[in-house]
């Protein structure tokens, strides 16, 4: 027992970055307290966030106790639990609809909501990593088209159920995160370059075609999607295309956010200096608050911190001798990269608006715990590296 603890090597660099991000989160939430809508004004979200962080750290501790290659045994059961919890949203009595999306469970006693899709992301990463690793272990001989197709087919079969279930909630944001996760993992799964290139080529063609159709017949496309779950996704794309026309609808948020960020300029307005009112500022739109108060310099520091975090995870993935660990790490990289890019990008009018939290910084218990758990996986992978290397040398 003593040995196993001794063998654990904590990655202080990564821990430092995560702690810094959470501190930034708490400071920003504190500064926003009195600018929130009347209904939630003055609530100490920074304290709640701190409490959630502690809960997350405990979760990380629990994750660290289990050797990470043991995860492969839980990967598929967890995956199915995740899918069932998504299915349950449609008929379980605890499911609640918030802001038009049926994505939450109401937990009765503690009176909080939990979003199963957040957990699903992690479970999917585990399952994909496990399936890719198994496929590679079992494959005899050279890679060929059959290898590529079977691997891709397995990944596809695994991804489709949660992707569809999340899409119809509707939660386009998380659905796209899942696509990114799969994309990143496919790139390093062992698929041959020519296969990947043809996939990318086909995807590109379809996207281009869809875009052309949309741009040529915008009304018909809108009509086709009217009254479906995709209606508001389409609306957001339109708003992003032409913000001023949709000023009072979907684009107001994007414009206000860009105004807040822009007016922060180089040095920012200083803490508590927010002037522009942006909805959902303590959650999805928190980056606009950082940028307005701390300017280009402050927000660049946040972006660099995120970059260093991802850099570090990729480094760990490289050092890891167990392919399962590498796949797992890269899945997490995919999740983080897309969410960071999407969230910050929408705050500065780089891409259309989608409701996604900024990892570690946006207020929200479920997401904070999920990202901390992800960090737990990486820490675990890193801490067992040495022993793994030691064993191979011994052999």
């Amino acid at each position: 027992m003593n040995d196993s603890i001794k063998r654990q090597r904590l990655d202080t660099f990564m821990i430092l970055i995560v702690v810094l991000l959470v501190i930034i989160s708490c400071i920003t939430l504190f500064s926003l307290q009195n600018t929130l809508p009347a209904a939630i004004r003055g609530r100490p979200f920074y304290i709640y966030q701190g409490v959630w962080f502690i809960a997350g750290v405990i979760a990380v501790g629990a994750i660290m106790l289990v050797d990470f290659d043991q995860y492969r045994r839980f990967a598929m059961p967890l995956y199915w639990i995740g899918v069932l919890s998504l299915v349950g949203l449609f008929f379980l009595p605890w499911a609640v609809r918030l802001n038009g999306a049926l994505s939450w469970y109401q937990i009765p006693i503690v009176n909080t909501t939990v979003q199963p899709a957040e957990f699903m992301k992690l479970f999917l990463i585990l399952a994909l990593a496990h399936v890719i690793a198994s496929h590679n272990e079992k494959w005899e001989g050279d890679k060929n088209l059959k290898y590529d197709f079977i691997l891709l087919g397995k990944m596809f079969a695994l991804t489709l159920p949660p992707f569809y279930l999340i899409l119809i909630q509707p939660d386009t944001g998380i659905a796209v995160v899942i696509l990114f996760i799969v994309g990143f993992m496919a790139l390093i799964s062992g698929l041959r370059w020519r296969f990947i290139f043809s996939l990318v080529g086909i995807t590109f063609l379809i996207t281009a075609l869809a875009t052309i159709i949309y741009l040529t017949f915008p009304d018909e496309v809108s009509a086709m999607f009217a009254d479906t779950e995709f209606e508001h996704a389409l609306e957001r794309i339109q708003a992003w295309q032409d913000p001023t026309q949709y000023q009072d609808g979907s684009a107001a948020q994007a414009i206000r956010s860009a105004l807040a960020v822009g007016s922060g300029q180089l040095f920012g307005k200083g803490i508590m200096g927010t002037e522009v009112y942006v909805y959902e500022r303590h959650t999805d739109m928190i980056f606009s608050a950082i940028a307005e108060q701390f300017g280009f310099i402050g927000s660049s520091i946040v972006i660099v911190l995120f970059f260093l975090l991802i850099y570090r995870i990729i480094q760990i993935a490289l050092e890891c001798r167990d392919p399962f660990g590498t796949y797992l790490s890269i899945g997490i990289v995919g999740m983080l990269t897309y969410q960071i890019f999407q969230n910050i990008g929408m705050s500065i009018q780089l891409i259309p608006l989608t409701g996604l939290p900024l990892p570690f910084i946006s207020y929200g218990g479920t997401s904070l715990i999920v990202y901390l758990a992800a960090i737990g996986f990486i820490l675990n992978i890193h801490s067992r590296q040495k022993s793994f290397m030691f064993e191979t040398e011994n052999r």
Partner: protein, 700 residues
Amino acid sequence: MTNQKKQKSHLPLRLNILFFIIFILFSLLILQLGVVQILNGEEAQQEVNRTDKVVSETPVPRGKIFDRNGEIVVDNEQKYAITYTPRRNVQPEDNLRIAEQLSQYMDMETGEVTERDQKDYWLLKNWDKGFAKLDEEEKQLSDSDQYQLVLERITEDELSTLTEDDMKVAAIKRELDRATQLTPHVIKSEGITKEEYAVIAENSHEMPGINVSTDWDRMVPYQEFTSLIGTVRNRNRGLPRDKVNFYQNLNYKLNDRVGDRGIEEEYELYLQGNKEIREHITDKSGNVIKSEVIRQGERGKDIVLSIDMEMQQALDEIVQEEMLKVINENPNKNEHFDKTLAVMMDPNTGEVLAMSGQKYYEGDEDTEPYFNNEAYRVLMDTHLPGSTVKGATVIAGLDSGVIEPGETFRDQPLRFRGSQDKVSWTPGIGVVDDIDAIKRSSNIYMYRTAMRLGGHWDYTPNESLRYNGEGFDLLSSYYRQFGLGSYTGVDYPREENGFLGSDVKANDVLEMAIGQHENYTAMQLVQYVSTIANGGYRMEPHIVKQINNPTNDGSNSVYEANEPNVLNKVNVPDEYIERVQEGFRQVFQEPGGTASYRFSDAEYSPAGKTGTAESAIYPGDNIRIDTLNLLLVGYAPHDDPEVAFAIVAPHLDESDSHINNEIGRRMLDKYFEIKEERQSSEESSTEDEENEESEEESGE
């Protein structure tokens, strides 16, 4: 092992590629951040600084109305309300969405939905289908013209596709559309159930601008008194057309609820209260950045009437009963008698204690005859006053010097050339002085006085009546000082100052002197008799005693009191007024006084003057129906008057009814009865307190 090695060999390269992609993505972020914050930052800051100020006002409950004893006359009833506060630049689509959501949570009356509302709603729901009704050429028209055309072309059939639910949504949307930006507008306040209230409160975050709050309604315990108090207009009616400018200059909104007629209108500015004013700072897209309370709202001030509701109700009852007696006694004869006016006032302060304007409606096959209280008629309806004005005539004669105190005339028919004989009502009065003339109501005495005022000093039968052209002005200048033919100054939106003489001939001055020429309101008559009662001070009548600051704990804090206001002092020696007072006393108390048969046994020593006026009605060409007005003015007690009154019962048949005296006696009896009851209950309550105190002491 080789397999695994091989497997791993592709990884470093691919991870590097991945890392490179990530690097590019993050570089993009920083780049765009630079564009937004550094390149366009200054512009954004300017945009942020470009703000608008919008002021919104939230209505507060109206002040309450009490009677002089603290009895509540008009109260506010709190009720649940759903309000909508639109943000700036709100679009019809937004309102539609909110209406659709609201319709799931609450019921709404669809009665007020117009065809235009239905069409607007249909078009919003069927935008493309609607505009497909236009041909290419028409699509070149301006947007509003296009819209108008489409509206015209929506067919009945298309409108009939609207379901009950659609109508409900349209009804809600209609209300939402009426709201002005940033100002709360009541969407529904009638019949909101607790469930609706709770569900909407819970889900209000889904519907920006929708809030639950409370509204109020006027609650009037004394329904029958509404004619005097007036009512409050509802929001749909808004400001009255004739006073729109007046109210808008005072920052009223078009759909504000203001008092309609009566005290509610007269004291509107006090009752309204101070709305809560907030200033919102909005940016250019209309989003509120900051909002600040500039003025705290304050409920409207409370009105305390000088009316005594107990006396008021008793008076209403007395008047109704006495009218019914007359009407039922001789149903065929009194067909023109349909109302009686009565008013009581404190002659020392001008406080109006009660005013009743009972109007009798005969009803028809379906409805029973009924009374309607139209108390404002006390101020609005003018009638010939008859002999009640003789007190003023005598003072005019004494003060102008045409008669001496104690001067006598023989009451005998006056005969002028070319006209009918002029006589008194009661024959055989004989020689009378000024006091007797009042006591016995001698017309001849008044005629002789008026003749002298007009320059015709001595009477010789069969002369023609001479007139120097000044008598009327002289006589009326005295009348006006008593309030006869003057505005009384009552605190009410409207009042009449009488039907006054003009282009006066010699005979008119004589008729004026006995109350057969000018018409006065009952309020003018009570002001006149009060002026005699209090020794010559014309008091401004007040229906409102004072205005209290709104308090929640029921305590009284006076904001403004209607202090007794002397409009003028009658400019004659006290002695002359005292002679008239003595005359008035004798009318009620001494044998031979015209009202003594009914009042001489009263313990409160009343004084006053009766009046009977010939008041013909001319319902058509050359048709004349002779009727009589029976009047009574008076006060009590005669030596220290505390209550004055006037009663007008117009257009009675020439019968020998004495409705004026009957009402007069009963109302004075009632007044002193109430007074005594109050005094004794006060005494007993103070006794009780003392008893309690002593009990406590003994307990210890």
